[in-house]
Subunit: 157 residues, 2 copies
């Protein structure tokens, strides 16, 4: 329970340790190190050999998380991050990449929505089968028609 002494005063003046980054991002230390090695996190500083992450690094990890969720490969993310170290002359390229990502994300959104519609039909199907048995749903077209009637939802396989 010590007040900081002369030397450790600047200890936590800036930046996060790797374990703090794990808490804040949900990524494991191994993964954060792996990302750095793979070029996804350029410019992580060291103090006494240890990694010290900046606020910008934290924002970068959050962006990586978004890009990954829309299916962007780590190699492409690394390329993007490399561009961010190049200032204004890489802005056009970065804009282009983000526009492509926007399209990809919208496409993925549509896919998941279609999948969800299918799964919701399956839930109804098995709820009905649990009550009435699978036999009454044997005719798939009739089952789909009944699903539309009962739920008001539009769905066809």
């Amino acid at each position: 329970m010590s007040i900081m002494n002369n030397k450790s005063q600047k200890k936590n003046g800036e930046g996060y340790s790797i374990s703090q980054m794990c808490e804040r991002t949900g990524y494991s230390a191994d993964t954060l190190r792996f990302y750095e090695k793979a070029g996804l996190l350029p410019g992580v500083k060291r103090r006494g050999g240890r990694r010290v992450y900046s606020e910008a690094n934290l924002l970068a990890v959050k962006l990586i998380d978004c890009l990954k969720k829309t299916g962007m490969p780590l190699g492409d993310i690394a390329e993007f991050m490399r561009l961010t170290t190049m200032g204004d002359k890489s802005v056009k390229k970065r804009l282009e990449m983000m526009r492509k990502r926007e399209i990809a994300a919208k496409a993925q959104l549509a896919e998941i929505q279609a999948s969800l519609a299918h799964i919701e039909f399956k839930v109804w199907y098995y709820e009905t089968a649990a009550k009435e048995g699978l036999a009454v749903l044997a005719d798939i077209e009739a089952a789909l028609e009944r699903y539309r009637r009962e739920t008001g939802r539009e769905f066809s396989i």
Copy 2:
């Protein structure tokens, strides 16, 4: 240009060849064989050693596609497909699995929407940077505030 003879009359009376399945599903022949080996497609028939896929098999592949898109591992899909071969006594279990999938799909939908919001901000950010330079956006909080003002969209990192 032959009319079917006595023997080949029933040739295509029922079912699809593997190449027809590739066309209809977008999956490669290797992948369809791999899925069968992994237990995702139980009950594929043979004629003269060759696979003959039924309408039910086609529907199964379409369901696999949905489940995969919501992030379900192939092992879990195989388990689900095994249950579908067991009739009414597996309905409760199947319902349970589909309800879990519904939750997973909705969660994924929310994630992609959040990612898309982030990416749309980035597109605006680089569009603005392309016109005015990165310097005017250096203060991230100010940039976010300007983004909300200019686009009417809600977003914060």
